[in-house]
Amino acid sequence: MRRLAIGFIPLTDAAVLVAAAKLGFAAAEGLELDLHREVSWANIRDKVNVGLLDGAHMLAPLAIASSLGLGHVRVPLVAPFALNLNGSAITLAHPIYEAMEATGHNLSSGLGVAQALGQMVRARAAQGLEPLTFSTVYSFSTHTYMLRHVLAAGGLDPDRDVRLVVVPPPFTVESLRSGLIHGFCVGSPWNAVAVEAGVGRIALLGPEIFGWAPEKVLGVHARFAEAEPDVLRRLVRALHAAARWSETAANHVELAQLLSSPEFLGLPAETLGRILQGRLDTTQAGLPRENRDFLVLHRDGASRPDARHAAWIYAQMVRAGQTAFSAAGAAEAGAVYRADVYDAALGTAPVSSGPAGDPVNTRFGEPFTPDDIDDYLRRVRST
């Protein structure tokens, strides 16, 4: 039995790692996964870097940023497995949402929310009010790019017209309550927790912005991938089996129960179960919104790392001003996503997965064209 130290952040999309460790999927591959709960993405990155962790639950953009040396020393990482797609939402403080309702835009559509937000922010600026503050959990995250996409679609400059800050998940609810922030875009379960606490309202589910967006991956150090290819393949197989089990609706009650334990998320199984089923209350009074794609753990090829997703993340980094575009950078970002390791582990022929055309299924605004990032960036910049 080979022991591996695996880091995770207490979020719903750690589900596949938890299931692999606790339900026998890892053991079936001769692995014992010691799960280490971490408090920050920076810790996850650093502990993988120095070898205190063999692998971890990682924001896909963090894996790419580290590999490119953006914002930090270069830590070459490999992502051979996608732990999930989607799972995030945008939650706004009640007064903000009410002011958006007053604009008359259709708030049941993503574009309508973006336009209402834009109109309200401009109106506030005209009245000389303080700009609104929105938070995500880390600068290099799909959450950041989603929020920026919505703001841009509302005709706003995310760097000038509002303030974007980082607030760690455990502080989001209190920050929204105290008015330190006016809204946030984060992963599950924190939107549901804020709604249940009555401090905010879910305005948009992630898949209403991008229908098929990368989120968390298994990240390992390139050094580990090179030194122990067999162990890595076994790990990928264990995660694949765990992901298939976790995706199955009939197992969601058991999975929610497992995740609710204090060593993992420490939240009511009922809340987590609703998240797994893609059925979220948007306000404390209810108003449920359903989306089958809210959190995708395995189906339709979701587990296979799609290099086009890495390209999309890279394009969002450029769009956000986190790096300057270069063809070499784009290639390096794409190389972090190792579909070849995934295919070798599962003995499957390489098949392209995910939607044809726009691999993230952009729901409004410019569609992403992985074969021509330059053109995409020109289009998003001119709007």
Partner: protein, 200 residues
């Protein structure tokens, strides 16, 4: 001697640590070494704004503090940040990052500050964090030993009362049972206490 040459008392240092005791130990160490601008932040609310207001040269932060991700936002050059911040180490310095991460602390410095000026601060932080964790372990061991002793005393008392043993005989019975069952004496003592409670 080396410290006297490299110490830079004018540097503004902020310690972000939820443990007031450890932060105080570190602050004392830094002040002894001659640093005069040392501040402690234990409250997370609006951390970024407070850091901007203080405008530190060096930020030392506990690894168990979720606010590390807030500090890392300062890596991003934006209108919010007067002076960009970077992680203390660079590629050539992997032993320092390892030592720091293992000690449970992380250091950020204002970009452009020479590493030699900051190294004594980082070295001291690592050694104080290690010392604090040793201290905590020892305290924990002492506390456990004390509790085990109390458990043994209670079990002995029960045996003396119920079986009419003197203290020595009660102790000997506990020890012999522990050896026979390949268990720790304190576990046997706990069983005696539990059983006595049941028979009450």
């Amino acid at each position: 001697m080396r410290q006297d040459l490299t110490n830079d008392p004018g540097l503004k240092i902020v310690i972000v640590d939820a443990s007031p005791l450890r932060a105080a130990i570190l602050e004392a160490g830094l002040r002894e070494a001659g640093y005069v601008h040392v501040m402690r932040l234990a409250e997370h609310t609006n951390l970024l704004a407070r850091l901007h207001a203080i405008d530190p040269d060096v930020i030392l932060i506990d690894l168990e503090d979720p606010s590390r991700d807030v500090v890392e936002q300062m890596f991003q050059v934006s209108r919010e940040v007067k002076r960009p911040v970077a992680m203390f180490v660079d590629q050539s310095d992997s032993s320092t990052i390892e030592a720091a991460i293992e000690a449970g602390v992380s250091a950020y410095i204002v970009d452009g500050l020479k590493k030699e000026r900051v190294r004594p601060i980082v070295d001291m932080t690592i050694s104080r964090f290690r010392a604090f964790s040793r201290l905590r372990d020892e305290l924990e061991q002492t506390r456990t030993a004390l509790e085990e002793r109390k458990t043994l005393d209670r079990a002995k008392g029960i045996l003396m009362k119920m079986k009419g043993f003197d203290e020595e005989a009660a102790y000997a019975l506990l020890r012999r049972t522990a050896m026979n069952e390949k268990k720790r004496m304190v576990d046997i003592a706990q069983s005696v206490i539990t059983a006595a409670d049941l028979f009450k």
